[in-house]
């Protein structure tokens, strides 16, 4: 079993010199930084500039981050600011208008909050998935593959009877639901994407 991958613990370990903890932070939040970058129309080169600056700023602040738990919010804000800086510089040098898309420039707090919550939810789900036994990971991956695999293919690949795919799926998901990685989400009240259908 891995350590409980709470953000606070990861930041503390990374600040103390643990490259592994840093890598885990990056793995955990790279999708958040990436999705914000792709919201701005930037070249990969510019995206790399932004990423370098964002992570570099974080490295410099690891020891002084006042609330490590607020890291995703800090990352989202910093990434957006760096994107705006790069996009504005690019527009200026092309002598095009410096008007940015309103959508990119003015993002409501609600959108930012949803972005951060989604990143937390996704990170926790990936962590819970990583804690599952390999058989469960294989089965759920096949069920989630695009295009979807037929039960026949799944049965042949994993060498289990078609009739037990359904029950095994339920057991794996139940196991995931009880994972400590998901426990933190209960406290912050993260809801199902697209609205709370779980009430």
């Amino acid at each position: 079993m891995r350590d409980d991958p709470t953000v606070v613990a990861l930041v503390t370990r990374a600040a103390a010199g643990d490259q592994g903890a840093w890598d885990e932070i990056v793995d955990r939040y790279a999708p958040l930084v990436w999705s914000i970058c792709t919201g701005f129309r930037m070249s990969n080169h510019d995206i790399e500039d932004v990423a370098q600056n964002v992570w570099l700023l974080l490295v410099g602040q690891l020891g002084t981050l006042r609330e490590p738990a607020a890291l995703p919010g800090w990352l989202a804000t910093t990434t957006r600011r760096e994107c705006l800086r790069v996009v504005t510089a690019a527009r200026k040098s092309e002598r095009l208008g410096t008007e940015l898309d309103e959508a990119a420039q003015f993002v409501s707090d609600a959108v930012v909050d949803e972005e951060i919550l989604a990143a937390e939810r996704n990170a926790a789900l990936r962590a819970a998935f990583a804690d599952l036994p390999p058989r469960c990971q294989q089965l759920l991956s096949m069920l989630l593959s695009d295009p979807p695999r037929s039960y026949g293919t799944i049965s042949a690949t994993l060498d289990i009877p078609i009739g037990s795919i359904g029950p095994q799926r339920a057991r794996c998901l139940e196991r995931m639901r009880k994972s400590s990685a998901l426990a933190g989400l209960v406290e912050v009240g993260v809801n199902f994407p697209g609205g709370d259908r779980s009430a």
Partner: protein, 150 residues
């Protein structure tokens, strides 16, 4: 909340989480992980305060051809680094002039450039990808620029 999600909702959310991770290119993740090399390097950041190219682009409207040399200045609280891009070398003058060590950091690694007592250095060859310059002295001065692309 995950405890309240039914199987379909949980599976759908997991699919979304996995796709979000798969959408991220590996170079992007590597960029983040490599940044840790700067951990515990307690250097002061020098910001770009002047770039001649920003000016020449404006002037290019009236002057069709310019043979000007690209010059950039990076400034920190204690000193500045004045860069001139030559034909086959990047020349760096530390202001105020002082002896020290100039390192060029690229993704491939770090090189040290020869310099004189007055803080004039030649970086050869000119880095062809992103790099940072770090200048430090035995007296404790330690300054690093942001990432530069020429």
């Amino acid at each position: 909340m995950p405890n309240g999600w039914d199987d379909e909702q949980l599976l759908e959310a997991l699919g979304e989480a996995i796709r979000a991770r798969q959408a991220v290119p590996s170079w992007f993740v590597a960029t983040g992980k490599n940044a840790y090399a700067w951990h515990n390097i307690d250097a002061e950041l020098a910001q770009l305060t002047y770039d001649s190219q920003a000016d020449t682009e404006e002037l290019a409207l009236v002057r069709s051809e310019t043979a000007s040399i690209r010059a950039l200045t990076f400034t920190s609280a204690h000193l500045s680094l004045e860069l001139e891009v030559g034909k086959d070398a990047l020349f760096v003058q530390v202001m105020p002039p002082q002896a020290g060590i100039l390192e060029t950091h690229t993704k491939a690694g770090t090189t040290t450039s020869p310099g004189d007592e007055s803080g004039y250095f030649a970086v050869q060859p000119i880095p062809d990808s992103q790099f940072r310059l770090r200048f430090h002295t035995t007296g404790g001065t330690d300054v690093v620029t942001g990432w530069i692309t020429l």
